[in-house]
């Protein structure tokens, strides 16, 4: 419904509303001064209040809630009343999907809109899966990180299904923007929850390759580094032994690229008992300014470099340096246990 203010007939002049007296706004401890906002909005809300108080669940009330929502999609009470009416009328909820879609582009971060959409989709069941996935895709065209849309998409996959193309869709999004943290999160969501993929054990190998490739494309990308690290979250020994991890660190360190995340990951490796080769030691040493001496403990040197190249977080790197001794001990202990 497009509300063109010139064509709109005031409710007070519509014959089908002649039996209703609108209920005015009563808004809080200070007296309401003469209203200067849209008269049409004020009038609509007056009639909404009237039917809400009378609990009138009719077709005209349904239409009225649509008008009110178009004026102000944030009013949750109107959305809730609309749902009561939809239930009472046993309305065709496919029309309701249309209604939400028309509002979505201008209200894509509105909690009420998304909750309403979920309520409708849940009622429609698995037949709605495809359409819901398409709907979120449309939102992502304009805002690929929309938190509400991602939440909705995850709910659709888990409740209604449609997993088959999800990993491929993540590939697409990351090709568009490799920094899209939501897409990286979704990757992890898919490999751990897709009923047909075999879980993280089965997919880890290919995902590590994927992450490494992404890192080499943009070494300053926080998301890809975190993803790589996360793939080994509960398997430290494999983390230490996977040559690809130390190799990607070395590659990044020897280019002129931003090396904060590479150093940080290397620090994690060392803390878990990794034994660096001479090439790595040289690469780290090269990053230390001439005025500074490198420490015999490579991890300490790395912390010193990080204090310089990431000064905003100097306190964090100083704390890492101090905790190193106990970290490495524990890491080596864990290695032996396995």
């Amino acid at each position: 419904m497009d509300s063109d203010e010139d064509d709109r007939i005031p409710l007070s002049q519509r014959p089908e509303w002649s039996d209703v007296t609108p209920v005015p706004q009563d808004d809080g401890p200070n007296p309401v001064v003469p209203i200067s906002y849209s008269k049409e909005f004020a009038e609509t809300m007056g009639y909404v209040r009237a039917v809400y108080l009378a609990d009138e669940r009719s077709h005209r009330a349904l239409q009225l809630t649509a008008e009110a929502i178009h004026f102000n999609a944030g009013n949750y009470t109107v959305w809730q009343f609309r749902r009561l009416i939809l239930e009472a009328l046993n309305a065709d909820l496919h029309d309701e999907l249309e209604f939400v879609e028309h509002l979505a582009s201008k209200n894509s971060k509105n909690y009420q809109l998304w909750h309403h959409r979920r309520w409708v989709a849940e009622k429609l069941g698995t037949e709605a899966a495809g359409r819901e996935l398409e709907f979120t895709k449309k939102i992502f065209v304009n805002d690929a990180k929309n938190y509400h849309a991602w939440s909705h998409r995850q709910w659709v996959l888990q409740t209604l299904g449609g997993w088959e193309d999800e990993l491929a869709y993540c590939d697409e999004l990351l090709e568009d923007d490799i920094f899209n943290n939501s897409a990286w999160n979704q990757r992890y969501f898919v490999i751990t929850r897709h009923p047909g993929l075999g879980g993280i054990e089965a997919t880890r190998d290919s995902e590590v390759s994927y992450a490494v490739k992404a890192i080499l494309t943009k070494p300053e990308n926080e998301s890809s580094w975190r993803y790589l690290r996360g793939l080994y979250k509960n398997s430290m020994p494999s983390f230490v032994m996977d040559r690809r991890v130390s190799t990607v660190c070395l590659t990044v360190l020897t280019t002129k690229a931003n090396c904060v995340f590479a150093l940080s990951l290397l620090l994690d490796l060392l803390s878990n008992g990794f034994e660096p080769n001479q090439e790595l030691k040289n690469a780290v040493e090269a990053l230390l300014p001439e005025s500074r001496d490198q420490d015999s403990d490579m991890a300490v040197t790395i912390c010193s470099v990080l204090e310089i190249v990431d000064p905003m977080r100097v306190n964090y790197w100083r704390w890492r340096k101090k905790s190193l001794h106990s970290e490495v001990e524990e890491g080596v202990r864990n290695l032996r246990v396995h």
Binding site: T77, Y147, Q154, S182, P311
Partner: protein
């Protein structure tokens, strides 16, 4: 670095409270009680709460209560956990929690806990860790945490922990600073922070600080003053706030002020609003900016208000 224009901000908030006629205000009518909490708490932090007539605010807050015991965003609105917390917090500011039928409100809140420990926002069933925080904070302020299953509540929140140490709105959802505040706040109130990997989360949180000194809510997003609260209070609750550059953050927040008309915006040179004014001032309080009352990072109320509730 400029200063905090405290007088201007106080005037701005008092003006917003009085002026209910402009479009923006009318469009926020349904969450007026949230707005009142933001405005009043800011005034209290600035030491100006007495400028507001308590005798007018308290009855209005009570008029927002629904027969179920929950509160709506304004008079005539349906009840929801979000507005119930704001109502309790506003009453706490005025030391008027006793006007509540505490058992009635507690029953409403407790009725919204689900089997898996999560909380729905209202009878319509939306689940989000925001609601876990709101329920737990509300019940704690009312001394009624025993009305819910705390163990399950903790378990659900932990199930929302991600591999980066952060938390999302539901299990598997992307880590987001706002959601993290809710989860950490709830765990802190329930004495369950030992389930959190503080070092890992602390690092994720301090990585939110970008070049300008401001904080974002997720990797590769723009900084916003409201994250000065959510990231900062989370860091304080896990004892890692020294991992960010506090001075740079203070400067960022001060740069977001409108020093002529008062108020604070999401980032420098944008339009101000009460929401960001509150988060900016609250953030500065957490950063121990001089002249501000201390605010509790978990309850999001001035420390003296919280002490009054728990130490009396």
């Amino acid at each position: 670095m400029g200063d905090l224009a405290a007088e201007k901000h106080a005037k701005y908030i008092l003006l917003v409270e009085k002026r209910k006629d402009d479009v923006e205000s009318v469009l926020m009518e349904h969450l007026r009680i949230n707005g009142a909490y933001w405005g009043l708490t800011t005034l209290d932090i600035l030491g100006k709460l007495e400028a507001v007539e308590q005798e007018k605010v308290v009855p209005w807050v009570m008029s927002c209560q629904h027969q179920s015991g929950g509160f709506g965003g304004n008079e005539g609105h349906d009840p929801h956990l979000l507005y119930t917390l704001s109502a309790i917090q506003i009453l706490a500011l005025f030391d008027k929690i006793e006007v509540l039928d505490i058992d009635k409100v507690s029953s409403y809140i407790a009725s919204l806990q689900n089997e898996d420990g999560s909380f729905s926002g209202d009878i319509w069933g939306e689940i989000d860790t925001r609601f876990s925080y709101v329920a737990i904070c509300s019940l704690a302020l009312l001394h009624r945490l025993d009305r819910i299953n705390v163990e399950k509540a903790v378990k659900y929140i932990i199930s929302c922990k991600n591999l980066d140490g952060g938390f999302g709105c539901t299990p598997g959802a992307e880590s987001h600073a706002g959601q993290i505040f809710c989860c950490i706040g709830a765990l802190a109130i329930m004495g369950s922070l030992h389930y959190v990997d503080k070092d890992l989360l602390g690092w994720w949180l301090c990585e939110r600080q970008v070049k300008s000194g401001g904080l974002n809510g997720r990797p590769e997003k723009l900084p916003d003053v409201c994250y000065s609260w959510w990231v900062l209070s989370s860091l304080i609750m896990i004892d890692r706030v020294h991992w960010i550059d506090k001075e740079k953050l203070v400067k960022f927040i001060l740069d977001c002020q409108d020093i002529e008309k008062g108020g604070i915006s999401d980032r420098p040179d944008d339009a101000v609003d009460v929401f960001h004014t509150y988060f900016g001032v609250a953030g500065l309080s957490l950063l121990e900016y001089p002249g501000l009352k201390a605010i509790d990072p978990a309850y999001a109320l001035p420390v003296d208000v919280v002490n009054r509730i728990f130490l009396r």
